[in-house]
Symmetry: C2
Subunit: 151 residues, 2 copies
């Protein structure tokens, strides 16, 4: 995972993360900051293993358990969104705004795209009859350009 693009934006997000921690009485540990920064600085929607790899140089003793615990905690506090992609590994997104995803069924990559209609479509009455609707999720599946090129 490459880190380094849009450093200003990333650091702004990290600062916001620190504030949320302080407001919520969560300790701002180096592990939490680095895990959050790893997510905020990439568009790859990383899973736990990708986070571990990207931090391996700077934090070689970071434990798997800490990554899992930390990401779950982030989700609970609305700092990240958990993405149920294809396959079995949970992936995370530091962009918590509502937006659709492209899932490649070949390589498993997850990409953002934008679509006003998909970002604003509301749950219909038929859905609300089933219970309380908290969020709407849209994704498309297909084969990404990189995988198409390989074929």
């Amino acid at each position: 995972m490459v880190i380094g693009k849009n450093i200003e934006r990333t650091e702004k997000m990290v600062e916001h993360f620190r504030e949320v921690c302080r407001e919520s009485g969560l300790k701002v540990t180096p592990q939490r900051v680095e895990i959050y920064r790893a997510l905020a600085s990439t568009k790859m929607h990383p899973d736990v293993e990708m986070v571990r790899e990207s931090l391996n140089a700077s934090m070689p003793n970071l434990s798997t358990d800490t990554i899992y615990r930390t990401l779950s905690m982030f989700e609970e506090f609305g700092l990240v969104t958990r993405i149920e992609a294809i396959g079995n590994r949970a992936r995370y997104d530091a962009d918590t705004s509502r937006h659709p995803h492209f899932f490649c069924t070949e390589c498993g990559c997850v990409k953002d795209f934008h679509c006003d209609e998909m970002e604003t479509i509301a749950a219909p009455r038929s859905a609300k009859k089933l219970g309380r609707v908290d969020s709407v999720h849209i994704h498309v599946r297909g084969v990404c350009n990189e995988c198409l090129a390989k074929e």
Copy 2:
């Protein structure tokens, strides 16, 4: 898992399943028929364990491996749809028509609802720029009426 409603419709689906098997050179084994029937006769979108439980009386020796293998094969041949619900168990739907789902974040249940807009919305250019789009998936998350009643 309760089986038995809409028996005619279920049996029509089972007959179609048999035809697909014959056409594709797949053996019509009792295991396959019962697993397919278990899916076709419920609206619960069962996971592997639910299928096993529902068939435990009639097929006590049905192996987990067979259920996994069979459901994957069904998906490959377009007989069922695999649903990536919340949490870690894959769920399956014998209704392969495009329709949105309601996921309860409390009990994990999966319910159907209908919404013309969600069933016809097409992938936008911004998605197609990322690769070949094969399908569009929409679901909502919330808390189902049963869980709301318990609170």
